[in-house]
């Protein structure tokens, strides 16, 4: 894993471009230069991306090795991503207030370990308060789950 950073990102861009090219050729009609079809512009852009990726791969000036990058606080990163995924699954099933309450309980209570009264006040204050502002005051309908 002691590759230079620009090598890795350049390669990633090339791989992405190759995938787009294959996907385009398989699924989309290309048309011709005079009457471009759905796949024409994506193919063009993917080729351009591959060229740029190659330039970055060979000419990249960022010569720090990959191992020099620090990845502090992966737990936080994973938990926050988890919260996002949870909200995708839960938002329209259990409603806005329940979803936000659970996320905030986790973040304030389990991750940040605030005092219990702070956790409860902040969590329910935020989720109910923001729901009231959006739903009742501004009439932006947020998903609700009957009474909660």
């Amino acid at each position: 894993m002691n590759q230079k950073l620009d090598r890795i990102s350049g390669l990633a861009l090339i791989l992405l471009a190759v995938y787009v090219i294959i996907h385009t050729l398989v699924t989309l009609p290309l048309g011709n230069h005079f009457h471009p079809g759905s796949g024409y512009v994506p193919l063009l852009l993917a080729l351009l991306l591959a060229i740029l990726g190659a330039i970055i791969f060979f000419k990249g000036t960022l010569d720090m090795p990959f191992s020099s990058v620090e990845w502090p606080g992966m737990i936080h990163v994973l938990v926050i991503m988890g919260c996002c995924v949870f909200s995708i699954l839960a938002f329209e099933r259990i409603g806005y207030r329940a979803t936000t309450s659970i996320i905030l309980l986790v973040l304030f209570g389990l991750i940040e370990r605030l005092r219990i009264w702070q956790v409860l006040v902040l969590t329910f204050g935020f989720s109910f308060g923001s729901y009231w502002v959006f739903n009742s005051l501004l009439k932006v309908p947020l998903p609700q789950w009957s009474l909660f």
Partner: protein, 506 residues
């Protein structure tokens, strides 16, 4: 000229009736609120209040709704500066230096300059709107698909030429954004592209979740677990006001941003976002200290923020003068006029003089009210940064989530934001600029559509781009830029400038 002055007096006398004054203030206030809150931009704000205005007389109703429109434009920069959440695509550039300033304890000056810049841009644009609306609007109509295409190509070349850092990396980000922007239904044929069975992607990837993910969410991901978390910032009262030096630095960028924004704004259907990008690029290119950009340069807030406001005002020109919408928000304003029994059309200005000039009067007034409203609010807003980070970031995360959801009531948008958050997190680690991705997402559909529409118009002949006067001007401009770039590259001046930037990045 005499007519305009007498009409303006009529306008002010309409705007200054107590009831209209009240509507203007109320509109500005509500606009600021919806602008500050994520997810509900001016579009939602205006559509929400549209039924309320059914019972108000038309001029008052229009004043109220326009107040929301430009009030939201003022409010939009607040979250960009304080939380790095761009409320709309056009605030992306404000995020970069605005947030950097806030982290340096200069949130006050950043907010103040963006309010003052918006005020100047708004007022100057209204003056321009007043004097040259009809001829300008007729000129703007001559922009068809070939003109858009040439304009955007020139814009991209300007950006490619002026961006700092590694040009290949910046271009790669724009191309990546362009590819993301092509997801969804191909408007020319009805084919779905790269949609993986998600019907909600049919209209393409929306810009707000992309911008919020790349900026707001990735920032939380990078800093929440960092042992050196951002400290709470206690701002002193004297730090709230921009210094004399900051004022001096901002004056010229505000002027340039205003002109640029207004000109791009009047072109219907164009992307206002490009005016903020070009403004930022110009400021960095002509700055004597380009290395300060990205690390809290006040010019990087003043220019794009003025351009953004001038563009949103310029967008009203074709709407008021010809009755054609220039974008989603003017479309709603247009609908509001129609609901009130005013036919917005080419005869609007002559037939409904009281409404038109009353609106102009109220826009002067509204911009002033907003300045008065926003400057004292800065003192309140900066307190937000006093909150310790462990309380702050879950709240910001919530703002990101609800903001993305409320745009189109779609959890798919939260998904897009999540993916973009991860992408932004890695881009930061690998030292890429994520702003280019946002630009690409906005421009991709317009560029592709205008290319294919042009070719459909010309039955497959590329000559259409060279036969039309406006289009050929842009292409020649682009060519000239390339020549200039090559010449200056040969003269080593360019290399010097890039070396200066590169040295600063080390």
């Amino acid at each position: 000229m005499v007519d305009t002055v007498s009409n303006l007096i009529l306008g002010f006398s309409t705007a200054f009736t107590p009831i209209n004054l009240l509507w203007a203030c109320l509109g500005c206030f509500l606009g600021t609120v919806v602008g500050v809150l994520p997810g509900i931009g001016p579009l939602a704000g205006i559509s929400l209040l549209l039924p309320v205005t059914f019972s108000i007389e038309p001029t008052g109703g229009l004043i109220l709704l326009c107040g929301i429109y430009y009030g939201a434009m003022y409010g939009g920069s607040t979250t960009s500066i304080l939380m790095r959440i761009p409320g709309e695509a056009a605030s992306v550039m404000t995020c970069i230096d605005g947030y950097a300033m806030a982290r340096k304890g200069e949130a006050g000056p950043a907010l103040a300059i963006s309010a003052i810049g918006s005020y100047v841009a708004g007022t100057v644009s209204v003056i321009a709107l007043m004097f040259i609306a009809p001829p300008l609007a007729r000129f703007a109509l001559r922009f068809g698909p070939p003109e858009y295409f040439s304009l955007l190509i020139m814009g991209l070349i300007i950006l490619g030429y002026m961006t700092g850092g590694s040009m290949a990396k910046n271009l790669a980000m724009i191309v990546l954004g362009l590819l993301i922007g092509l997801v969804g239904m191909d408007t020319m044929t009805g084919n779905f592209r790269f949609y993986y069975g998600f019907v909600a992607l049919g209209d393409g990837v929306s810009v707000v979740p992309v911008a919020v993910g790349l900026f707001g969410l990735s920032e939380i991901l990078a800093t929440a677990g960092d042992p050196n978390r951002p400290q709470a910032i206690k701002t002193k009262l004297k730090d709230l006001i921009p210094t004399r030096d900051q004022f001096k630095r901002s004056a010229a960028p505000i002027g340039r941003g205003t002109i640029l924004g207004f000109l791009i704004g009047i072109i219907p259907g164009s992307a206002h976002i490009i005016s903020t990008f070009i403004s930022y690029a110009i400021e960095r290119r002509i700055s004597k200290t380009p290395e300060r950009f990205g690390k809290g340069a006040i010019e990087g807030v003043a220019g794009p923020e003025s351009a953004n406001n001038a563009a949103s005002c310029g967008a009203l020109v074709p709407m008021l003068a010809l009755g054609v919408p220039t974008g989603p928000i003017p479309a709603v304003l247009l609908a509001a006029l129609m609901v009130h029994g005013i036919d917005p059309g080419p005869l609007f200005i002559t037939e409904h003089a009281v409404t038109f000039w009353g609106l102009i009067g109220s826009m002067y007034l509204g911009n002033f009210v907003l300045l008065l409203l926003n400057l004292p609010m800065i003192g309140v807003f900066v307190n937000f940064l006093r909150i310790p980070y462990q309380y702050l970031y879950p709240t910001i995360l919530m703002f990101c989530l609800v903001g993305c959801y409320a745009v189109n009531y779609s959890v798919v948008d939260i998904g897009i934001m999540t993916v973009m958050g991860i992408l932004g997190y890695f881009l930061k680690k690998f030292e890429y600029e994520s702003a280019g991705v946002v630009l690409g997402v906005v421009l991709a559909p317009i560029i592709e559509r205008s290319l294919r529409q042009s070719l459909a118009m010309s039955h497959g002949s590329y000559a259409i781009f060279f036969n039309r006067p406006i289009s050929i001007c842009f292409l020649l401009g682009a060519l000239a830029l390339i020549v200039v770039a090559i010449v200056s590259m040969l003269r080593k001046k360019e290399a010097l400038w890039r070396a200066q930037l590169a040295k600063a990045e080390k």
